[in-house]
């Protein structure tokens, strides 16, 4: 129980942990034959490591870390395209700080900035719109990145830019959606999953119904969870109870923030500005049908891919991931970060090879920060 005292309510945490141990026993799960629960969201992965939830729960539960970190699933080719846009004369390239250190084939955005490109870390796409207002002679490009939590922000920013007829603002759209990769993972015969802990803040935007297919078509339970460690434990218990009872449904542990039908204003803005791409490339997972968004023709003037003839607008392209990089296998739960031959050798947070080591929400960075370094010492 080395972390339990850190919980806001250690007594409640102990109660839930006892219930988890009991239900795991009732299911008959063991360390050799565990219940496999995927937490989809990178924020949850981070919390699991931070609070040692994988150690606190009994041996019969294995956490599989899902693809829910947008920085981690960003393919190298897209980073290269960012650098290409950023290095054009006259461009101000705006990005969330998280994306700065993701390696591209030649360089990261951080290196491109050091080489002289005007790259600015912003907090919000609103900052990029403001930069476009203040710099009418420059092209301001915002690197639109993230799942449904950040998609409404770029959609609303594009709508605002359209109302103001800002002709020097565009978005390099890399928004992706949560449900399609989950379907891809469920269709993967190598992947054995018994249930899911669903993302909290994504669900605040999309509601709980986009996950119905997981229960209905695949017979797996999903529980939408909040971010407090206790929320996570409670959600794990709810998943286990469904498994024990032979049920599969979508439940909402985070109903205090997540409305069943999501946020109507956000959903309307997304639908107005974006449409599904036929397919989109995910690092480690490959192309997944209808998993990414592109800007609709009505807002073409704000689409950096169209404006600069880059990315999917430039036709098909292939980029190889670096030698020995285990990101794909880790992302699909086939390999633990520590099993990657590069972990702690060619790849550390200071010199990341894969994106999973860059973001604090990446499984490799989480392993490293909360005990992975120790694991390497033990391996040596």
């Amino acid at each position: 129980m080395r972390y339990v005292e850190e919980f806001r309510d250690p007594k409640a945490a102990k109660r839930v942990l006892a219930a988890i141990a009991r239900v795991t026993g009732e299911i008959g799960a063991t360390a050799e034959n565990p219940v496999r629960i995927m937490e989809i969201c990178g924020g949850h992965t981070h919390a699991i490591f931070r609070y040692g939830l994988d150690k606190l729960t009994p041996g019969g539960i294995e956490f599989i870390h899902g693809p829910g970190c947008p920085v981690c699933v960003l393919p190298m080719a897209r980073v290269d395209e960012c650098v290409e846009i950023a290095e054009r004369p006259g461009v101000i390239f705006c990005t969330f700080g998280d994306a700065m250190r993701v390696p591209g084939t030649k360089k990261s955005l951080l290196q491109a900035k050091a080489d002289g490109a005007d790259i600015r870390m912003v907090y919000s796409p609103l900052d990029a719109v403001e930069l476009a207002r203040r710099n009418p002679g420059r092209e301001v490009v915002f690197f639109g990145l993230g799942f449904e939590t950040t998609t409404p922000s770029t959609a609303l920013s594009i709508q605002q830019a359209a109302r103001e007829e800002l002709s020097n603002f565009s978005v390099f759209c890399n928004h992706i959606t949560v449900p399609p990769p989950i379907r891809a993972l469920l269709d993967d015969p190598h992947m054995v999953l018994d249930g899911f802990v669903g993302p909290g803040h994504v669900s605040m935007v999309i509601g709980t119904h986009p996950y119905d297919f997981i229960a209905e078509d695949y017979g797996k339970p999903l529980v939408v969870a909040g971010f407090e460690p206790l929320d996570l434990l409670q959600s794990v218990l709810m998943v286990l109870e469904q498994i024990r009872d032979g049920r599969a449904s979508v439940e909402n542990q985070y109903a205090r923030v997540v409305p069943e039908h999501g946020n109507p204003v956000s959903l309307a803005a997304i639908a107005d500005v974006y449409e599904a791409r036929p397919s989109f490339e995910w690092r480690g997972l490959g192309e997944i049908d209808a998993s990414g968004l592109r800007i609709r023709d009505a807002y073409k003037a704000f689409d950096a891919e169209e404006k600069f003839g880059i990315g999917y607008a430039a036709g098909p392209r292939v980029t190889e991931e670096p030698e020995g990089c285990g990101c794909g296998a880790v992302m699909t739960g086939r390999m633990k970060p520590t099993e990657c031959p590069q972990f702690g050798r060619g790849c550390t947070p200071d010199t990341p090879l894969g994106a999973l080591m860059v973001s604090s929400e990446g499984a490799c960075a989480a392993y490293w920060t909360y005990g992975g370094a120790r694991a390497v010492e033990e391996m040596a």
Binding site: H46, A47, G68, M121, D127, F147, T150, L156, N263
Partner: protein, 95 residues
């Protein structure tokens, strides 16, 4: 980027653009309130909201705000969000 941070709306700054000033752990930042705007914008003043990359995405109660902040602090994500807000201000100041 993926986790929202609680803040309190202190003032409506631009009703036409649905912009408001929020207090995020003592740091002031202008945010868009389109996603949480009800009939009367002024009703938002004093409300706690969950803010994602400069957009208020949900109205939450005070206890929820306090608990979320504590969870984010535990993860180091609260500090990260505040640093990003500061970075944003810096990017705008650059010429």
């Amino acid at each position: 980027m993926c986790l929202g941070i609680p803040g309190r709306i202190v003032e409506i700054t631009d009703a036409a653009r649905l912009m408001a000033m929020a207090d995020v752990s003592g740091v002031r930042r202008e945010v868009n309130v389109a996603c949480v705007a009800g009939a009367a914008l002024d009703d938002l003043v004093g409300a706690w909201v969950l803010i994602h990359v400069g957009f208020a995405m949900a109205v939450i109660d005070e206890d929820e705000a306090a608990e979320t902040l504590e969870a984010l602090r535990g993860l180091g994500e609260a500090q990260e969000a505040l640093e990003q807000i500061a970075e944003g201000a810096k990017a705008l100041a650059e010429q």
